[in-house]
Symmetry: C2
Subunit: 515 residues, 2 copies
């Protein structure tokens, strides 16, 4: 499934996905509902609408519908992601869309204000889940599970300022894989990175890089630079913005808004420019400031071991130790990572397609213990695939592909149904025969359609097959009925053959298995 | 996939699914969080917890987690349902979990109060979707789609008093299939009933019946009995409760709470006892009161045509014209239907397992027009499969099956992973070799696991395979490494053979394709 190939398609994608998006009134703004329908059965509801002449038909800010075309692309991406998770031995799981608000509080640092709360309608105070990690930790603690490798695909909700053009929504789908349990160091962590590589390679999104760091190195760096411990998480949140903001703006935030001394900020500035392979790990072991910090040394030791395993997995060249990586969420305690797609140099005037990180994760050894009455810990490490952003990229690309390869030539489209056979008739008053015939096909497990008309024209029926990509037509008319035969027509070649009625299902199954 | 067989398993199911449910602390009530963990990195969060000594770890009322065992069953059910929808030519679609509150208001009759509203955090007023039908109608109107056959699988939320023991939750999954568009009468309606039959037969839930009526017959019956038009929908809601309440209680509600004259209620009482096949349709054409009502006659005419098509589809004997069927939702305008599992006579002292309707739907020709600025209508008919209730039944049954067939004999369990190969070693210091080996397998698309330990014992590794059902083990040790071979072991037969290292992937693929 080569979903994406070589470049300069990114700028194209941005443009074309705008041009080609399915018709959507939500973009065009207000639509007034004047309710001209007036049936007795609907009276009461209609009255309500007539009383609201400014009633606007739209979807909530930052959300979107997935059209059948979108769904085809999404299904392909999810299939690839889930089959990778299963290849690594993960079990499936699901949790409710909302949790008690208390469960989610104080887990997300500065972003906690972006949670969607439910209205107090009497009863518990609830919030929509903000990620799949905290519900997983709650599940482990609640059920006293000490060891588990699971995946979870589901929607999460965040009240972010939506910048929809770059694939960020307020409702989006995450695909998470996590390993919970006490194991020898860095083996599960390395597997998480291997999984990220397999998925990003599999989706053929072009070249990518996974930035790696460790929360203990981040904190050690802060301590070594003179950041007061009480400001660790706040400064961490600022550093996390380095992929979207320039250093000078991040520095300004740390100094002016968060009260960091300018010389401390500048020391941090020296470190966050560093990135490299395992040699940078060795170099940091010798760093005069970091080498004095016990936490940082632990982190560096683990990263060294991690790189050893990554080499055995054959993915070391995809990984970059990057001291600017901090990750915003509060719960990380060890190794952290984030995958980015590598931009190609765009031509003059082309807007680079910036989708930010497409996958991320890390180790969170303290989260489960926060939910356990006795504080018993279950160490965890995991990753999250940002399907929405990948979807945005792949979707943009697929649309170009259809235009370039099919659209401009034969009018062929992406199929949104899987129908194999169409039941047609050239005659009037053949509805009964069509219904009997299609029942036979359905009952044999064959995907079949017909038009919901008593007397459709043959041409209309054949056009339907061509426009929806149905490969086979079975035709029944007076003559066929008399002779006990059915005509099978190939839509592509327009060839027709008559076969015995009783052989119909077998013959179709035969043809479908050949194609 | 014979998920369910013959009976008296229902009473068993209720009992056993209680006994066998995975450990779940939510049932045991309050758990105090005393937070004995105290790491620097977690200080801020922990403080928050220490300040809440009564913090309770549980999930929201009326919701549940799906464990890996549950997910295996759910996936089987959804696969069967979705493949049926695709067999009938439906496209996939998705909409956001919440809609503007105004979109959902006035669509659900008396049940509208059960909607989950989101808190007003500035911006739009939102509610969680209550079904998948209203979002579908909103989608059609917003995108000016006049014709579409789509399916939609997704969660919906209703603040009902949860009676979890009968498979009713506040968060549950629906599988909807709908046909939108102007077609010749009753052909799409008949297909919806055919789909319900295919799914319920496919799931092998035991014998079932689909009750059918028409909103125009219901309204005609009300008019003929002397119900004032303003009370139609309210009385409809009362009638809808007949599957859960006795007639005398429903009558009391209509008379005492809704102000219906007792003699009118009694006239309705005579009708709602009637159910039967197409002969009852003929009989009602002759009914002195109904035959005077234009609406009722239209409904009866359509039902007659419907039965003709159902006979051609070979499912007429599964369908019962039932005058007690009303359906609570406001938006239905034509034929309505509801599938129920037929109870077997339970033995004395056994509680019958009442799961209510497992699938339902009907025609709603006015809903899309309510969202269209000019009131343009798009006639629709559809159905919804209540996966949660089916899940409850199948789940209960599967658990019995495992106990009876596997549990008591060989300790075999339902597999929650799909891992095909386990990478093991009998020697110390073989982590590197195991990592290289498993990389080869993963990169060849083989589902593989190993233990995350530097020096695991061979017995521990083999036990892991037996307890998780992994069929093959590949073993590498010093001797194998020296000779350039790998041992392959079948977990079931315990047979081992040595093969050349370079043939490993091919040999495993060969074995997996045979099994």
């Amino acid at each position: 499934m080569p979903l994406l190939g070589l470049l300069p398609w990114r700028a194209w994608a941005a443009l074309l996905s705008q041009l080609l998006r399915p018709p959507c009134a939500s973009c065009t703004g207000a639509v007034r509902c004047q309710s001209q329908v007036a049936e007795a059965v609907l009276t009461s509801q209609l009255k309500a609408h007539q009383e609201k002449p400014n009633f606007i038909i739209k979807i909530p800010k930052g959300t979107r519908d997935l059209s059948p075309q979108h769904m085809v692309v999404r299904e392909k991406i999810l299939d690839l992601v889930i089959s990778c998770f299963k290849r690594h031995g993960a079990k499936g799981m699901d949790t409710p869309a909302f949790e008690l608000k208390e469960i989610l509080t104080e887990k997300y640092g500065e972003d906690s204000g972006l949670m969607y709360d439910l209205k107090d309608q009497g009863g518990e105070l609830l919030s929509l889940r903000y990620d799949l990690t905290v519900p997983f930790a709650r599940y482990l603690a609640m059920n006293k599970v000490k060891k588990m490798k699971r995946y979870h695909v589901g929607k999460v909700w965040r009240r972010e300022s939506p910048t929809i053009v770059q694939g960020r929504y307020r409702e989006f789908c995450q695909c998470d894989f996590d390993i919970a349990g006490q194991f020898d160091p860095m083996i599960p962590d390395a597997e998480c990175l291997k999984i990220m590589c397999e998925i990003l390679s599999g989706l053929q999104l072009g070249d990518f890089l996974i930035k790696v760091n460790d929360r203990r190195i981040v904190d050690g760096m802060f301590a070594a630079c003179g950041v007061p411990e009480s400001k660790f998480r706040a400064i961490c949140s600022s550093i996390d913005k380095l992929d979207k903001m320039a250093w000078k703006d991040v520095r300004h935030e740390m100094v002016a808004k968060k009260g960091l001394a300018p010389e401390v900020a500048d020391r941090i500035g020296d470190y966050v420019q560093c990135h490299g392979g395992v040699s940078l790990v060795e170099q940091m072991f010798q760093d005069p400031r970091l080498s004095q910090n016990k936490q940082a040394l632990e982190g560096l030791g683990d990263l060294k071991l991690l790189f050893e395993y990554l080499t055995l997995f054959g993915i070391a060249e995809k990984i970059s130790f990057d001291l600017s990586l901090a990750r915003g969420l509060d719960y990380y305690t060890g190794v952290i990572y984030e995958a980015v797609l590598l931009q190609t140099p765009t031509q003059a005037g082309e807007e680079p397609l910036n989708v930010g990180s497409v996958a991320a994760g890390g180790r969170y050894d303290g989260l489960v213990g926060m939910f356990d009455p006795k504080g018993h810990k279950v160490p965890c490490v995991g990753l999250s695939i940002g399907v929405e952003r990948i979807f945005y990229i792949v979707d943009g690309f697929l649309m170009i592909l259809f235009v370039l390869i099919f659209g401009t030539t034969k009018g062929e489209k992406v199929r949104t149904t899987e129908t194999q056979v169409f039941v047609a008739t050239p005659q009037k008053n053949f509805l009964q025969e069509r219904l009997k015939l299609i029942t036979e096909l359905w009952d044999a497990g064959i995907k079949a359609e017909m038009l919901y008309k008593n007397n459709p024209k043959l041409l209309t029926q054949l056009h339907y097959c061509e426009s929806t990509g149905i490969p086979l037509v079975v035709i029944i008319g007076e003559q066929e009925l008399k002779e006990g035969v059915i005509k099978i027509r190939s839509v592509a070649s327009r060839e027709e053959v008559a076969i015995k009625r009783e052989n119909l299902v077998a013959e179709i199954q035969n043809r479908l298995s050949e194609s």
